[in-house]
């Protein structure tokens, strides 16, 4: 019998094209002070997979066209439970794994148990959904688990629906949607400033570097943000700029750009009737020079970001062109042509935002710590991810590199800390 097929949507194809830039894995780690009901978790995961079939599909690239082929699976291939001696190492090893789009499953989950505590980890192919939807997916997973365990309600309440990129226009009026659908212009510029990592090497391995900032730092950033007219994200971005100038030794007069991931769901009327997918684009933040101090850098960042914020169609530029490119040419040809016009940002930042503990609570018990990060980037590309849980900001950078790269990223985080401290005074 022929397997069921799903359409490969625009963002699925785009993230497939990103295979040259990153491993496309999105990572989640939730630490609980208790051990959840493993059998219940298996049941909820199976229901989630049944409701979101793209998670147990393989991506088929026929050169002329592409699609997802829904595959049979067993939950044991998806969900593993282990009792490692060193949970930290086990988590690192699990999170840095790579799931090829041609595999039968696109998400893997692990539960590491030690001393009555547990760590729930998840890796997922970005082609299926982005960080924004993964947050919602996790929330539904935890809610379904809680209802199933405490009330015996079958865990079948998962969002289903369209995965089309065109849903981003659903919140616009007819005229606005007409305008947005004609934004063929690619407004992103190329910038050759690189994060100073070492050259690529066959022995490079994926690693996730993290840096936490205390609750106190966040409070101070909030106060300082109000004073400077900047958001927390803009302050983090300014620190990113300033730190990278220092780390890479760019001339102070150089114009540098860092792309900032933006959630296009802001344009949608509702996501409740939509399927899990990608709706993320880039906003290119450029500063004309480093600035005499970090505060001037903050000013430049705010100015640059305000220009975008005033745009009703923020993040939607170039989407119609991508859609046009993919819709009338054979897939292989589309890819080659899009590659010519598309420049992947060398430095980027993704603020996944606040992770609400209540959303990830299992039977009312919130995780002690939670963390999410974007894909492992291949050199020379880097992505700084920020998540906030219980007022603690975690910055992370996933890199495929060597020990020297680890030291460089560590040094970068030290500079970030120094610059954030300068801002907060």
């Amino acid at each position: 019998m022929m397997n069921r097929r799903l359409d490969a949507e625009l963002w699925d194809k785009m993230h497939y094209l990103f295979r040259d830039f990153n491993d496309r894995m999105v990572h989640v780690e939730l630490n609980y002070d208790f051990i959840p009901d493993i059998e219940a978790l298996r049941t909820v995961l199976i229901c989630a997979f049944e409701k979101v079939p793209v998670l147990h599909s393989r991506f088929v690239d026929k050169k002329l066209w592409t699609h997802w082929e829904v595959m049979p699976y067993n939950i044991d291939d998806v969900f593993t439970v282990s009792h490692p001696d060193n949970v930290e190492d086990a988590v690192e090893e699990f999170l840095t794994q790579y799931i090829a789009p041609t595999e039968d499953i696109q998400m893997k989950v692990a539960l590491f148990i030690k001393d009555g505590k547990s760590t729930l980890c998840m890796v997922e192919n970005h082609m299926c959904m982005d960080g924004g939807d993964l947050k919602l997916f996790l929330q539904e997973l935890c809610e379904n688990y809680s209802r199933y365990v405490s009330e015996g309600i079958s865990p079948v309440s998962f969002r289903t629906g369209s995965r089309s990129y065109a849903d981003v226009y659903s919140g616009f009026s007819k005229t606005e949607a007409g305008v947005a659908r004609r934004l063929f212009k690619n407004i992103n510029e190329r910038d050759n400033h690189r994060f100073p990592l070492t050259e690529d090497n066959i022995r490079d391995r994926s690693f996730i570097a993290r840096k936490k900032f205390s609750e106190e730092t966040l409070d101070k950033l909030k106060v300082k943000g109000k004073e400077l007219g900047a958001t927390i994200n803009e302050l983090l971005l300014a620190s990113y700029f300033y730190s990278v100038y220092e780390l890479a030794g760019y001339p102070e007069s150089d114009k540098v750009m860092i792309s900032n991931a933006i959630d296009l769901r802001r344009h949608m009327d509702s996501v409740n009737d939509k399927g899990f997918t990608n709706h993320t684009s880039w906003m290119q933040c450029a500063i004309p020079e480093r600035g005499k101090d970090i505060f001037e850098t903050v000013k430049y960042v705010v100015e640059s970001s305000n220009r975008f914020k005033k745009d009703r169609f923020m993040g939607l530029y170039g989407l119609p062109l991508l859609n046009f490119g993919y819709s009338f040419m054979p897939h292989a040809v589309s890819e080659e042509i899009i590659k010519i016009g598309y420049s992947n940002p060398l430095m980027a930042m993704s603020n996944i935002g606040i992770l609400n503990g209540q959303h990830y609570a299992l039977c009312g018990k919130e995780p002690a710590d939670a963390f999410m990060s974007g894909a492992v980037k291949y050199k020379p590309f880097v992505l700084l991810t920020a998540t906030t849980y219980k007022k603690v900001i975690t910055l992370s950078m996933c890199v495929r590199g060597n020990d020297e790269d680890k030291e460089i990223v560590k040094r970068f985080f030290e500079l970030m800390e120094k610059n954030i401290n300068t801002i907060t005074g």
Partner: protein
């Protein structure tokens, strides 16, 4: 199993006592049972969850029954009506050929009936194929466009043969082949706009002058217009292009002149 039967009986509001309804319910039950086995193979052991999950998947049985009836009708048509229709058509064509030939004694001309019949059959099959291709991915649509062009060429070839054999003068004969090309271009254009093909506007800009130029040659060759006086027909194609450009600009003007309300 009983859970699924109860679900089918409770949710299938359109249930009548027809044999079709029974077959549909039986098909749904088989599908639900098969899905349940599939989910169980994935590792799910809670029977209640399996049942709820599957029932959720098969929630709109009324809509499913409508689709089932349509599918059944289509398959009946393909299974019985199509072969019977083709056989009847072949018999009628042969009968028309022999009767006409026998009555008129014009055996040298009546073979056109056979050619026409064969062409009509090919065109009919191509139309079915085009309909099938249109329901498939867009990457297959160019094949449908090629088939459509072949259909129009077959029609013009038949018109050419018909005129060549039946009309005593050669005057109108060869330009019918140009008419075939015009028909092919026009057909392709209608297909492109009807199925909202990408680049259809570009096709329009190229096709219109080509169509009017061919029309000019065809009419002039037939003597309907003079070679010297008929050339403005070509300009009509360009004028239509120009009018279409104006129409596109006008209908998109509101998007180009849209002023954003700045959100502070």
């Amino acid at each position: 199993m009983n859970r699924f039967i109860d679900h089918i009986e409770n949710t299938f509001k359109g249930a009548d006592n027809s044999h079709d309804a029974y077959l549909y319910k039986r098909e749904v039950l088989d599908s639900m049972t098969e899905r349940a086995k599939e989910v169980a193979r994935s590792g799910l052991s809670d029977e209640k969850v399996i049942a709820d999950l599957i029932k959720d998947e098969f929630s709109d049985l009324d809509a499913g029954f409508t689709g089932y009836k349509k599918k059944k009708l289509r398959s009946k048509l393909l299974k019985y009506a199509l072969p019977i229709g083709i056989i009847a058509f072949v018999i009628l064509t042969l009968a028309a050929y022999f009767i006409t030939s026998g009555v008129t004694g014009a055996w040298g001309k009546t073979w056109l009936i056979i050619v026409g019949g064969v062409f009509a059959l090919i065109i009919f099959c191509f139309i079915l194929l085009i309909a099938k291709l249109c329901s498939m991915r867009r990457v297959f649509h160019p094949i449908a466009r090629v088939l459509l062009v072949i259909c129009t060429i077959l029609i013009s070839v038949f018109a050419f043969l018909f005129l060549h054999i039946m009309v005593p003068t050669e005057l109108f004969v060869w330009p019918t082949l140009l008419g075939g090309v015009i028909l092919a271009l026009a057909g392709d254009l209608i297909f492109a706009f009807g199925t909202k093909q990408k680049l259809r506007t570009i096709s329009f800009f190229f096709y219109m002058p080509a169509i009017t130029a061919l029309l000019y040659v065809m009419l002039a060759a037939n003597g309907a217009v003079t070679w010297n006086g008929g050339w403005p027909i070509v300009l009509v194609g360009l004028a239509v292009d120009f009018a279409y450009i104006i129409y596109i600009i006008m209908s998109n003007m509101k998007y180009f002149t849209y002023k954003q309300e700045v959100e502070e």
